[in-house]
């Protein structure tokens, strides 16, 4: 079936107005030998059939509705209040485009302005853009900002090995051929070391230092000393932060960060097998002209009403073309809206409650699992809602066993860090009950004995 609302009679009348006899005549510029190929695709189905087929495909997955999950590593299972999706389903929001015509797009514009405000409140920064594709690409855009800020004269970027392995991979992809030297991007580095260890890598040629907070292993380090060291060399510092943790922790802004980015998925966005998510990006006011992405600013219309527009657009690719900091065009509009609705409805007390529940439950889990014979906690630093567990057997084997009990185990750190063979990264959120954690402990104990 199609969604074309034109009857054969109307079509013929339109062809007559155009002055051709058939639709095929409209395609005479297309080389004849390649025109009208036979596409080998399955026969079209009706909506009723499609709904059933998609149901079947979806049932081919074991979802977190069926499994108890302790998997995190950059994507987190949080409760999403019902109101979030009800707002997202408004056609006025999801079937609109980028607000190029502000007179008829104030809904989107004000929502983005509020999103920017919420992100600055959470991160302790001065400005936020309208978002990037995800946490990983937001980190890569931080490199672009720093590179542009120093006009290409500083070519070194220091990145902590405790930054998400996939984020580091994306930075490597984005910077290939730019003549940027990545330092610290070494999975064999001493992982016990705190952020200060990176200080030795920062030199006068360093444009940016990138750390994660809490880091990929869930640890909370105070980065203030490193930030001071980096600033002394004139480098900028980017902190990739978990937004839920920021309800509890000192803001990166307070700690002196120049750029704060992160994965916004925990803020009301479904896991959706990895996307679409939300890359948030905040910085200091002095860097706003080098920041990529859409930006909404407050103004007035010609009727004296407060209103919002896309502003500083001359920074962007459609005007600056090859001289723009980034090629980014759209943002993650609807995902930014989801996070804003989430933050609005959970609010000050709700977000703090979520963060505390994550903290307490993760600590209960760590304490319980760390005491199991054969298991131990890998790091001693304070942590938020994720921790590394040293296991007596390969993580894959343990996870297979857990799955038989309906439990989705943690992330196998050995696949990224050779020194962390048989180490599992476990995430605990408000979605996990004490019973879930005890059940996990029970199965793990069994695995150890078996």
């Amino acid at each position: 079936m199609t969604y074309i609302p034109i009857s054969p009679m109307e079509r013929d009348a339109m062809l007559k107005t155009i002055g051709v006899k058939t639709i095929d005549e409209l395609f005479k510029d297309v080389p004849a030998k390649h025109r009208f190929p036979e596409l080998k695709l399955p026969a079209a189905v009706t909506e009723m059939e499609a709904a059933a087929d998609m149901d079947d495909l979806a049932l081919g997955n074991e979802s977190l509705r069926d499994l108890v999950s302790f998997l995190g590593a950059g994507a987190y299972n949080h409760y999403i209040p019902a109101v979030v999706d009800h707002i997202l389903r408004r056609g006025e929001f999801y079937t609109a485009y980028t607000p190029y015509q502000p007179e008829i797009a104030q809904g989107t514009l004000q929502a983005i302005f509020e999103y920017q405000s919420l992100i600055t409140a959470l991160t302790g920064m001065e400005v936020s853009n309208a978002s990037h594709y995800d946490g990983a690409t937001a980190v890569a855009e931080a490199v672009n900002l720093a590179y542009a800020q120093f006009r290409g004269k500083r070519n070194r970027v220091v990145i902590s090995p405790a930054v998400h392995p996939q984020y580091r991979a994306v930075v490597r992809t984005y910077t290939q051929g730019m003549g940027i030297e990545l330092a610290g991007d070494d999975a064999r580095a001493d992982l016990e070391a705190g952020p200060e260890a990176l200080g030795a890598l920062v030199d006068d040629n360093t444009a940016l230092v990138i750390i994660q907070y809490p880091d990929f292993f869930g640890r909370i380090h105070d980065p203030a000393a490193l930030i001071e060291q980096a600033h002394a060399r004139g480098a900028l510092v980017c902190v990739a932060a978990n937004p839920t943790a920021l309800a509890l922790l000192k803001t990166p802004g307070e700690l002196g960060a120049d750029i704060v980015v992160g994965e916004g998925q925990p803020l009301g966005i479904p896991l959706s097998y990895g996307g679409p998510y939300l890359g948030f990006f905040a910085t200091r006011r002095q860097y706003v002209h080098k920041m990529a992405g859409r930006l909404v600013g407050e103004t007035e219309d010609n009727r004296g009403q407060r209103a919002y527009v896309l502003t500083l657009t001359a920074r962007e690719q459609h005007i600056k073309r090859d001289r723009a900091t980034s090629n980014i065009c759209t943002n993650q509009g609807l995902m930014a809206l989801a996070s804003a609705v989430y933050l609005a409805v959970v609010g000050r007390s709700g977000l703090r409650q979520v963060a505390e529940l994550c903290f307490h439950k993760a600590h209960y889990a760590a304490e319980t699992l760390g005491k199991l014979p054969g298991f131990s906690l890998c790091f001693s630093a304070p942590f938020f809602h994720e921790f590394s567990l040293c296991c007596p057997k390969p993580v894959q084997e343990i996870n297979r066993h857990l799955l038989e009990h309906g439990i989705l185990g943690g992330y196998d750190l050995g696949q990224d860090y050779p020194a962390l063979k048989d180490h599992m990264l476990l995430a605990v959120t408000e979605m996990n009950t004490k019973d879930d954690i005890d059940a996990l402990a029970g199965v793990l104990a069994e695995v150890c004995h078996g």
Binding site: P37, L271, H318
Partner: protein
Amino acid sequence: MAKIIEPTLFELSSPGRTGVTFPQSDVPPASLPENLLRGILPLPELAEVDVVRHYMRLSGFNYSVDAGFYPLGSCTMKYNPKINEDTARLPGFAATHPLQPIETVQGNLVMMYTLQEWLKEIAGFAAVSLQPAAGAHGELTGVLMMRAYHHSRGDAKRKKMLIPDSAHGTNPASSGMIGLDIVQIPSDARGNVDLASLRSACDDSVVGLMLTNPNTLGLFDEHVEEVIRIVHECGGLVYGDGANLNALLGIVRPGDLGIDLMHFNLHKTFSTPHGGGGPGSGPVGAAAHLVDFLPAPIVGIVEEGTSETPPLYGFIDPAHSIGRVKAFHGHVGMIVRAFTYIAMHGADGLRQIAEYAVLNANYLLARLRATFPVPYDRICMHEFVAEGRLAGTDIRALDIAKRLMDYDFHPPTNYFPLIVHEALMIEPTETENKATLDAFAEALIKIAAEARTEPQLLHEAPHKTPFGRMDDVKAARELVLCCWLPPQDGK
């Protein structure tokens, strides 16, 4: 003081209100690391009803495809089928974690593999990666692949990217971002790539050409095969910007024309919603010689099936991959929607999409060419570009665009492409009926008459929208980019 039409979330906040509460903790409390804790968390405090009413009022200020005709050229603002919204939210898709063992997500992987296969078939490529998050992201992926391809052949001297003057800004921005030099290629009098200029720009320093075909004038290049041959002869590659693929579904496969690699825009061609500016989805297809450079990973069969068991789908890293371009596997939520859409269309349905998109554009062109100048006037594809100026008036494209809002239409794209003065770029898409197209044409004809009789009406438009023209200078000069809680609420 400007009049406040809708307060911000922060202005609506009232201390002590809450929208959601969570269950009490069922574990013993751990001690929080006091030295690492923040002070006040300055988020708003609202009840659920406050939040719903706020966003409902905001939604009322938006124009949308669900509300009316949105002929925004180059954006393919087609109707977004509702079933897609339902399928993407099935818990089996929406509640799966990206790092689950592949054995537990075969539904996702089969779907992704199948969509890769379908996109290959639709556009004539040897492989597809679903990872890029948007069109511009697909372009970045593409230019990185082009350079990696040349380097793999020991050819590191190629630094020039050729880009027609009608191209989207993202083309030069994507190439500039990875340090390539841009050479702009002019268009000829019929809106094609100028062959003589192209020939003289082609040498052994060329990485390739970024070609949008049909181009942003809505025209199918009359010498497309010649253009591609010239670039290939100097050792360059041809990147296809798939922004305008809607015109080509079932009409011609870019891969068959010799395009080496291309991004798809699932949010244009395959009906995933634009979301107020994202999320998009920009898979990249590659011909055989570029398959090994695709971003890692792509979905493949990791264990062949037998007569009893289905094959096992998983992830495969292409041999010389440029690497990862984002975390995880792409915008899967968008992939589910596009999959649903293609499944419901089949080959014939896809061809009809292109046919009616092109029919609608040519119909509007036929109805409007007597009123507005059309600088490259020939049979168009899915869109066309008129000039928003009228002899004997000082009316500009901007005035026409704003006045259209009073007739309850979204304006076309204006001031793009850059090679047309006062451009009005009109893309009706296939999902509009004749009555809508007629009403739109009549509104534009009426506006042209108003331009002569009551030009003020246009200069001051819009009049009937909830907001009037904006002070862009104030926004940029004062640069108020966020708001915070009012002072009476703590600090």
